[in-house]
Subunit: 190 residues, 2 copies
């Protein structure tokens, strides 16, 4: 079995042989096909997922059936319904594969176990969270302050890799506009 991904997940951490054994034991490979659902709203959320390759999408569906994309996940990103994963509650979000994808999952219990055995893992995830928090703050600010056209330009500049592999209506639902409005913006820009 291939464990080279461990180095990629925890890139800058130096584990002892004993620690490597622990880390290997808690991750499990998950393969998922394009269009398949990894997590449904209402499910208990017991796992966090590391994306090796492919592309995932986290989204909310409101009462009228409209979708709002919270996050895309490509290679080297982590995905989950974090609100539910952190608290042990039920998912409000859905996660689907928008490309065939390979993930590694870890359970909340195993993550707690890693924290208790290896303080450096606490440190590692704290820094990951600082970056994720920063990214969310930037998104809140741009959503408050910029019109849709600028948000779209910012999106394709910030996520050039993602932009190529996803549908326009997914980008629209990330930006908070309709697919028709996005189409008009794209026309203006071309």
């Amino acid at each position: 079995m291939d464990f080279t991904y461990i180095n990629k997940i925890f890139d800058e951490l130096n584990f002892t042989d004993e620690e490597i054994t622990i880390v290997k034991s808690v991750f499990r490979k998950v393969k998922i096909k394009k269009g398949d659902i990894l997590l449904k709203a209402g499910d208990l959320v017991n796992y966090q997922y590391y994306v090796v390759d492919g592309c995932m999408r986290t989204f909310h569906v409101d009462k009228e059936g409209k979708e709002y994309t919270i996050q895309f996940g490509i290679s080297d990103w982590w995905i989950s319904d974090y609100t539910a994963f952190f608290s042990g509650g039920k998912a409000v979000l859905n996660i689907e594969a928008i490309q065939d994808s390979t993930l590694y999952r870890i359970s909340r219990e195993d993550k707690e176990y890693m924290y208790s055995k290896m303080p450096k893992v606490d440190h590692f995830f704290r820094i990951k969270l600082e970056k994720a928090f920063t990214a969310f703050q930037k998104r809140i600010l741009i959503n408050l302050s910029k019109p849709a056209k600028e948000r779209y330009i910012n999106f394709i500049e910030t996520y050039p890799k993602i932009e190529k592999s996803i549908k326009n209506y997914h980008i629209a639902s990330y930006l908070g506009i309709t697919t028709e409005s996005l189409s008009r913006i794209r026309k203006e820009l071309s």
Copy 2:
């Protein structure tokens, strides 16, 4: 000097006497008057602040001079320009006191020192970040999915304490609408 605040800041952590000495040495009290600026965009951000009492506001000012409120900070909240504080870069945000306030500040260097000496502090701030991350995600979702009236209702339900001590135009700038629009919404609701 009064160090009871230490227990409040790190409520569930049990420090040894030696650790308490370290913690006490890295925090410094800051008093600030209503209307005063704690941090200006462009400044280097060397501190993170714990609010003991009063009310602070973190906001961005765009090129046209319009303000966008990212966060309010009342008793027991932490505030800073985190993007800059985490990375060591310059502030994009401003922080002002909207009430006379008492804060305790800690520098990035001292925080790193605490992390290196006490893994439980890493653990503590990781959990704080998980909660802050979750709150931001909820805000992104409501900003994408709900009209201004519902965002306002959600705000006053979520932050009843804050709502009483701040101006309507600050709430408007947090919701991403004009003070005139907020006024119309308030009229509808009354």
